[in-house]
Symmetry: C2
Subunit: 488 residues, 2 copies
């Protein structure tokens, strides 16, 4: 690069075989984030990224360059008198280039600085006749079909950076509070929680599987010597951890094989499940509220550029909603009281309301959006609609469940105090015909040194839906898995 003004290589192959000291790389790459956030006017810089747009006239070209570090592009100004036109030809939308230049104050509005190019190298072109991201304003549906390219758009760049920030904030919150990250298993031999339909995992040759004398599949010859599935929840294993380490959380993928083609369901999604020894349901609610408020505050403090973009493009109440959620205490009330409110509401619900109803999104959102105008934590649900491990109340009818209900989302967190009494837990398991042989290890936590404890689950994508304001859960995970779709 020293002897030439421009160097145009589609493949970069020759360049990389040169000695290190002749290469552009000896000058450290500047991230666009740093140039825009802490601009040093007059500095020689090196940026590398993808061309978002190129425009200009016969004297000068303006290239909007993005490197993924921030939603904003940096403008590269190219004096055409100093560059060979042939060289600049491949610099079209989607091309990848490296630019040497001087950072100068920008006369244009909305950008503090721009780069006066002194050298440009093309790493890779993007043929304008076939590159799918040519024009602006693609539909989210179309972008789902090109999920391998959609991270290059402003929208998915913003969503994925926010997703990262939320994942990091989750780990930071728990680490700061003395929780231990426990990796619960993905492949499981038990279907104890009954949270949903499961995916089978097998290495058998399905076209020619071994059979038992009765003609059934002989799972004793499968990889694990028995039938195995993908986990629906790490909670039961999480409880084992909490009964030793005190405070733990899981953060891993979970699976549902339900044929639900809705904007709220994925077959593969990520879940966070903290589990706390010595927490009762009050402590559990306190933690859930503090945790959610921490995450939303973190997003407002660390992701404002991306949030402003999403607020402008998709949901102009987004930032206001995030701020309102952290401003006030969450409402806390019992399920029975909630049912009374719903019955008196005069609303027409698709699912009619009566005590015992498993609340639907429409009911949850009525309570949050129309009645209280705040997030709501509902407690003490009927035991029939909740899982076997929840602590039974003395009334014999309800359990110490708690669901956190959010605007637009409905249930964002579901949790409970756990039944720590061995006899009560065994009785409930028998009532529900759960095979004791599948949960012997879980029961032993109540047999040896049992303790009151609580926990909850946060669907990561539900959180990201709320924080980004996106409407479809397929748009907040890089590569969504849904019925008939496991592309990429």
């Amino acid at each position: 690069m020293n002897s030439k003004t421009t160097l145009h290589l589609y493949t970069h192959a020759i360049l990389l075989s040169l000695q290190k000291n002749t290469r552009m790389e000896h000058l450290r790459r500047n991230k666009v984030y740093d140039l825009l956030k802490s601009p040093e006017v007059g500095k020689e810089v090196l940026v590398k990224g993808w061309v978002r747009t190129r425009r200009g006239n016969k004297q000068v070209a303006f290239i909007a360059l993005n490197d993924g570090s921030i939603i904003h592009n940096i403008q590269v100004v190219v004096d055409l008198a100093k560059f060979d036109e042939e060289t600049l030809k491949p610099i079209t939308t989607g091309a990848c280039i490296a630019v040497n230049g001087i950072l100068v104050a920008s006369p244009a509005e909305g950008q503090p600085v721009e780069i006066q190019a002194t050298a440009i190298e093309v790493y890779g072109s993007a043929d304008a006749t076939v590159y799918p991201l040519q024009k602006k304003g693609h539909s989210l549906e179309f972008l789902r079909e090109i999920a391998h390219l959609r991270p290059r758009t402003n929208t998915f760049g913003a969503v994925l950076r926010i997703r990262h920030a939320m994942a990091f904030a989750i780990h930071k919150y728990f680490n700061d509070h003395g929780f231990c990250y426990l990796h619960s298993p993905i492949i499981t031999g038990s279907d104890a929680e009954g949270a949903g339909a499961m995916f089978h995992v097998t290495t058998l040759d399905l076209n020619n599987p071994p059979k038992t004398p009765e003609g059934k599949i002989d799972y004793s010859q499968d990889f694990f010597g028995k039938e195995t599935n993908l986990t629906v929840s790490g909670q039961l294993e999480g409880e084992l951890g909490a009964m030793a380490l005190g405070l733990i959380y899981t953060f891993g993928p979970t699976f549902r094989a339900e044929n639900s083609n809705t904007p709220r369901h994925l077959a593969e999604f990520w879940m966070i499940e903290p589990e706390m020894a010595f927490y009762d349901i009050m402590d559990n609610m306190d933690l859930a509220e503090d945790f959610l408020k921490y995450l939303i505050t973190y997003a407002l403090e660390h992701c404002m550029d991306d949030l402003e973009f999403l607020n402008k493009m998709y949901d102009n109440e987004l930032i206001g909603r995030l701020k309102s959620v952290i401003a006030e205490p969450f409402v806390r009330l019992g399920y029975t009281e909630a049912i009374e409110i719903l019955m008196k509401s005069g609303e027409k619900f698709e699912y009619p309301v009566s005590w015992g109803l498993d609340l639907q999104s429409e009911h949850e959102r009525y309570l949050v959006e129309k009645h209280f105008h705040h997030p709501v934590i509902l407690t003490d649900y009927p035991k029939e609609i909740k899982a076997f491990y929840m602590k039974q109340n003395p009334d014999g009818k309800t359990v110490r469940a708690m669901d956190v209900l959010f605007p637009r989302i409905g249930e964002i967190i579901g949790g409970s105090q756990r039944e720590e009494n061995y006899d009560a837990l065994v009785a409930r398991i028998r009532e529900l015909n759960i095979p004791e042989k599948d949960v012997w290890w879980y029961l032993e936590t109540r047999k040896y040194g049992t303790a009151p404890h609580s926990g909850f689950g946060l669907g990561f994508e539900r959180l990201i839906l709320f924080v980004t304001g996106m409407a479809n859960i397929r748009d907040v995970i890089p590569f969504p898995r849904t019925p008939l779709n496991a592309e990429f």
Copy 2:
């Protein structure tokens, strides 16, 4: 608790139904970590945890209590004159108790403080005739059979806290360096990387699967409409992310369906895979070395109590080895040079050495432990023993691979610069008969705005093996999955 000195409840059920203000919980629990690390002598404290040992005489009982926050126990001193003997009976190894008391300076060696108990509550007993963790010194093999209880031992408490610290340090390192955490998919429709045998994922009724007219399984009726497997690597999807966001990393479970019953292999393990646009193999090596040194430094700074325990009990060279690895630059040399060293070594290897050999652990460890006495980064491997996506060198024989070799472990990181040239990549894919229809989306990254880029994979459990000094990979993950074993 106000009117009584002791309160003995096996089940805790009655206690929890009392009003909040009559409960012990109104006094916030003190973690043993805080009491030992920042002791405030004279303070009234409340600790909750599990009894490790109980000893004493007719006047006084000494209870060693652990709550998982730290490897050390806190000693609870019980003046038997003030407590009902019947109440104290269930306080045996494994029982869970809450203790109110005064923190006092301890006359005993090795502990700054102890608690003079004023009130004790038993949450859960642990029948000494059946509780499996009665005696000290269980074998690691035995503990694997009770993986639901082993986190209650010193060894697994230490390992799991270190595992947590390393996971957090990984996220912190990448976050601090501007990387975006990308969740690559777990269920995948492609087997492109060919990194190993895969687990099938299906919802078909295997006893009665739908068939095609040719008598084969009809996967078009499966959940995803095609054959799907569990991922062996998130790298290919990671590259899609890097070509948009610049710097990304994955950290998720990966799977190998190989029937390898060794101390180094798991069927389900966690992998970290950073992928960096604009990094060549030199940058890649710099990052890998800096990253590993950061993690080991973090362990030494944050996990010394646990490391000292493991150093004493399992591997008295552990801490010295960790310190030595961060003290000096890693050795960097080419595969060809390494082969020459091995051939001249005079060592008797199980696998004879010649150019083209896929190095085995014995060779890697010879280079690291006997020849260089430092970690080694090997580069430029023969293309035949490496994956299709690695950048080809001009010699036509080798690729820009880099493996980081560690003492005791052998390969801890494997990575490469990627082939970013479309034509070269397609040619290699055809050479290897990889179906192009399975990787069309991957190839498009080279078609549209390709860029030089690099990445690597770190097996998380290999890292934990190294940092803990444990010998068997089954002992550094909470619930190991291996052939014929998917318990818990």
